[in-house]
Symmetry: C2
Subunit: 228 residues, 2 copies
C-alpha cells in the first residue's frame, strides 16, 4: 500500500473559509478584468461566483472593486486587501506542501517525563525532547528532514549554547542526491536512521559521504508526536 499525504489549505475569517476554489476565482478576476469573464473562463456560473464574492467580502473585507456601466460595460479589479490575501494563501499553501512532500523519520518511544506539552521520550537512540499535546506512554515522533541540522563533530556548539535541544552523534549511512538538494540518512544508534535534507553546497562542505561522522541536531519545538 502506497499512501501519500495531501491536504486542502484554507484561510478562515469568522465562519467563512476561503479555499483553493475561491483563490482560483480571485486570480481569474485579476487576470480577466471582469467577474463575468472570470466565471466564463473557469466554466462556472456567474451568478454563483458573484454571490460567493459578496459572501467572502462580508468576512474578509473589500476584495473586488466592481463597476457597472461605462465604457466596455464596466469591470472589476482586485483590491490591495485581496492581493495580500492571495499572497498569504500562497505562503501557507507552500508551507503545507513542505509538510506533505518532505520525508520524515518516525521514532517510536515512551514518554518518561512531561512538562506541559513538552515531553521527554525514550527512544532507541536516546532521549528526545518533543511536543506532544497530551497522553502518556507510547508515542510516535515525526522529525521532518528539513528540520534536521547536520554539523561537524569538531565544531558543534555545546548543548548549553544552542536552542537545538536534541543532538546525536552519528555516521552517514546513505546519501541520495537530488537536483540541488541531498537527502542524507544518518545512523544514530536507533533502529532507523534520521533523514536530513541539506543543500548540495552543505553536503560538499561537510564532506557528507557514507561512513563520515556527523552530529545531527533538531529542535524540540519542531519535533511533534502523537500518542499511539
Amino acid at each position: 500500500m502506497d499512501t501519500q499525504s495531501t491536504f486542502d489549505a484554507y484561510l478562515s475569517a469568522g465562519d467563512v473559509t476561503l479555499g483553493a476554489r475561491d483563490v482560483e476565482l480571485l486570480r481569474a478576476i485579476d487576470r480577466e478584468g471582469s467577474l463575468n469573464n472570470a466565471a466564463e473562463t473557469l466554466s462556472r456560473s456567474y451568478a454563483h461566483a458573484q454571490r460567493r464574492i459578496v459572501e467572502l467580502e462580508e468576512a474578509f473585507g473589500s476584495l473586488v472593486e466592481r463597476r457597472r456601466g461605462g465604457a466596455g460595460g464596466g469591470g472589476s479589479e482586485l483590491t490591495d486587501n485581496a492581493r495580500d490575501l492571495l499572497a498569504a494563501f500562497a505562503r501557507t499553501q507552500s508551507s503545507f506542501e513542505g509538510v506533505a512532500d518532505i520525508a520524515e523519520t518516525v521514532l517510536s518511544g515512551d514518554i518518561v517525563d512531561r512538562d506541559g506539552e513538552l515531553v521527554t521520550v525514550e527512544t532507541g537512540a536516546g532521549h528526545v525532547r518533543a511536543l506532544v499535546p497530551d497522553g502518556s506512554g507510547a508515542v510516535e515522533l515525526s522529525i521532518r528532514a528539513d528540520a534536521v541540522t547536520l554539523t561537524d563533530p569538531e565544531d558543534t556548539p555545546v548543548p548549553e549554547h544552542t536552542s537545538a535541544r536534541n543532538r546525536f552523534s552519528g555516521t552517514v549511512r546513505e546519501v541520495e542526491m537530488g537536483e540541488r538538494i541531498a537527502r542524507i540518512a544518518v545512523d544514530i544508534g536507533g533502529n532507523q536512521p534520521i533523514l536530513a535534507l541539506v543543500t548540495e553546497d552543505s553536503r560538499e562542505k561537510l564532506g557528507l559521504e557514507p561512513g563520515h561522522d556527523v552530529v545531527v541536531s533538531f529542535k524540540a519545538t519542531a519535533t511533534r508526536g502523537v500518542s499511539v
Copy 2:
C-alpha cells in the same frame, strides 16, 4: 480582518482519499466493536458507512475484519493495517497543525540567483538561501518560528561546519513566554524581526533577554518562498 490558516488533511492511495470523517468512523468501529454501533453512535447511516469501508479497503487494503452471525450476531475489529493507517494520519495531521498554528516571519526580497529550486534572495537583512519552486524577481519567504535555531555568538559553528545555510547575528528584541515555550523576536537588521520558538529551558541557558546578542540560523531547505 483576522484570518487564520486551517487545513484538511488526507491520506490518499490511488484515487481514494481517506479524510477526517473516515478516521472518525474507523476509530468508532475500534471503540464500539461493530460497524453497526459505530454508525449509530456517530449518527450516520449504516448503509453508507458500510459502503465507505468497502471503498476504502479497495484502495488501502484490508481495514476491518467483519464477522456476521455467531454469538452476539457478529462484530468487527480493525486490522493492524488500519491501526498503522490511523497512526500515520494522526502524525501527518499533527505536522500540519504545526504549520497552521506556529508563528512565522515573512521576509520580502528579490531573487538574485537561482540554481534549480534553490535561490538566493536579497532581503533587508542580507542574503537568504531558500526554496522557491519557480518564478523570479520579487518573492516572499516564510520562515517558521520552530525552524529557527538560536546559538551563543561565542560558540557558533563556522558556516563551513553546519548545514544551516542562513545565519545572522542579531539582538533579542522581545521575549514572550508561553507555558513551557518562549517566543523570541530577534532583530537582525531587516525591517522586521525573526521569530524563534524555543523551550523555556533553552531560553534560560542562552540567557535570552531583550538586548542580548544571539546568532539566528535556519536551513535553506526549511525556508520556502512564493513569487509575488
